[in-house]
Symmetry: C2
Subunit: 347 residues, 2 copies
């Protein structure tokens, strides 16, 4: 009914109603313990005894995190939800509730907002998250989406960054660097540095990884339930930056093994096309939302088997050492220090 | 250490550390059940059995909700926290945890950010809220603060908008319209429509109400604990808009009694100075963050006594009627319809 209306002709109440209309059933909310969802001053939910709450929030800002030529509106919504889910995954927790705060420029049509919400709900429904509230305000210029996610975790079982131990093995749950390469590809196309004829269709997986990353909720749960994972982080910035965070919190060092770092075939191919080492994207690119963690050598086979049963990749990429900081051993056995230069929105 | 640094020279981690440094003690967090606060992918907290969770989020955007000439930086932080707390108050709940998401323009110094955080924490500490997480990103132009608050409420006792009953009395917990008049004063001073010589110092209470509103947490708790409050809402927009929300949710009408609406003496005086009826601000001004609710006639004395014991104002301003919509009876007994024209950020 409201499609195509400009924002100024709507009141906030009608807008929120319209964006959330028929997206989630009462049954679905009941199952998740929602007592009161959208439509009062605040939402009310039932918690389960024996569990603790996990909470995180994350913001995406137009021109800083996305642009119309790098992301479709649906992708903006999907990724805003997915990047938040990734933080819940990195605690080993089960995501349950989302609150969405949206600051909307006047020139955005409800048509575009509906597309953003389509993506938001696509992700929320897939991962069974109840959207229970939020706020909608005007923005002077740029779209700003801030999402808070609340999850549940078995009492005192949440996985922190601070428990990595010397001699642990370091693992990731998937390929890294693909999202940053996908973004690079989109920007080069926009700037006409790449002509369409030059671009093999098989770079689309890189673009998909940038636009629709998959939060590793299942992997986080396997790791928590195994009770054998020592430290865990999600790779929202580059691998070097995330590794540094674990090292600093745990007071240890990481020694990555270059030949063990998995390189996605399309990442390698795109690197060759534009003359850049895939390693640059892996270490310093961001937004892949894989998990990076450590586990003792004695437990690694058990965990590897669990990942295999679930069909989730599990790559051992290095080990935890006493020497502080992050280092890389190359194919010839040479070891060099890796600087913490992840994607940082303030640089 | 970081005071005066420009944002571009800091990484996000150092910035967050600096803004939150020594603001709340471990002891304080332990008392509130915080297992893991700022510094991991997500926060972890302990919940209490027998209680439900209450969650809300609210955003303040520079140029939409505040300007340097209407709000000091400390006030921006204070009010962002206070307006969120008001939604928790309107459920009768106890606020406990806050997550702060900040999008920061490059030209903001950490000096200014520290002032914003000073205000945020001033409010959080007064109301005993643990700040347990957040996100800090760059903004292309304007400051954007989004806060999520999580509170606790006795199971199935939260106060909704939807339970007002015909013949209930309608009450508020304080003066209304002062914040909007305070804003009007600040804008007129800025536009030099008022000269400083014209402005009696006693309009400062109006300015204070705009900059540092007090969320009615205590009033909300009294109302919930009385188990006699039927419907409750906070007055973040105008009285007419908030009354309409209760009426629509409860399928009833409100009949306000004009002579019973409390008018703050400074509001009356300012209205006389600029030639505007205080009633305009009361009905259509926003951001006073008082509570508006209904209670049965039989219970009103009991509740009035509880408010008196606590030294909190309690004004009966009308009653609930079967005729839908919001109406006003003036001093001569004439009844007119009140239009739902509260402060709406999309108009």
């Amino acid at each position: 009914m409201l499609v195509g209306d400009s924002l100024s002709s709507l009141d906030e109440f009608a807008l929120i109603q319209s964006l959330n209309y028929k997206k989630q059933s009462n049954n679905f909310h009941n199952k998740l313990g929602v007592i009161k969802g959208i439509g009062d001053d605040a939402a009310v939910v039932q918690t389960r005894s024996g569990s603790q709450l996990v909470m995180t929030c994350d913001t995406m800002v137009e021109t800083i995190h996305f642009n119309p030529y790098t992301m479709l509106d649906e992708d903006v919504g999907y990724k805003a939800m997915a990047s938040n889910l990734s933080d819940i995954a990195a605690m080993g927790a089960i995501p349950k509730y989302a609150l969405i705060s949206l600051s909307i420029p006047k020139h955005y049509s409800t048509f575009r907002l509906k597309k953003i919400y389509k993506g938001l709900y696509e992700c929320a429904n897939y991962f069974e998250i109840a959207v229970i509230g939020g706020d909608t305000t005007k923005s002077p210029k740029h779209l700003n989406i801030s999402i808070t996610l609340v999850g549940e975790v078995e009492s005192n079982q949440a996985l922190f960054r601070s428990n990595a131990k010397v001699n642990d093995l370091v693992f990731t749950t998937g390929y890294l660097g693909c999202s940053a390469a996908g973004l690079d590809y989109l920007l080069k196309v926009k700037q006409k540095q790449l002509m369409l004829g030059q671009i093999p269709m098989n770079f689309l997986p890189l673009v998909k990884q940038h636009r629709r990353p998959t939060p590793q909720i299942k992997a986080g749960r396997i790791l928590l339930q195994s009770r054998r994972c020592h430290a865990l982080n999600d790779v929202s910035d580059g691998l070097s930056s995330e590794a540094s965070e674990i090292c600093e919190a745990s007071n240890v060092g990481f020694l990555f093994d270059e030949v063990k770092l998995p390189i996605h075939p399309q990442l390698r191919e795109y690197g060759q096309l534009i003359g850049k080492s895939p390693l640059d994207w892996i270490m310093y690119g961001g937004e892949d939302y894989q998990l990076l963690g450590t586990v003792s050598k004695a437990d690694v086979v058990h965990i590897q088997n669990r990942f295999q049963q679930e069909g989730i990749p599990f790559f051992i990429v290095g080990e935890v050492v006493a020497q502080k900081g992050v280092q890389m051993k190359d194919a010839y056995g040479n070891i060099k220090k890796i600087h913490k230069k992840g994607y940082n929105h303030f640089n």
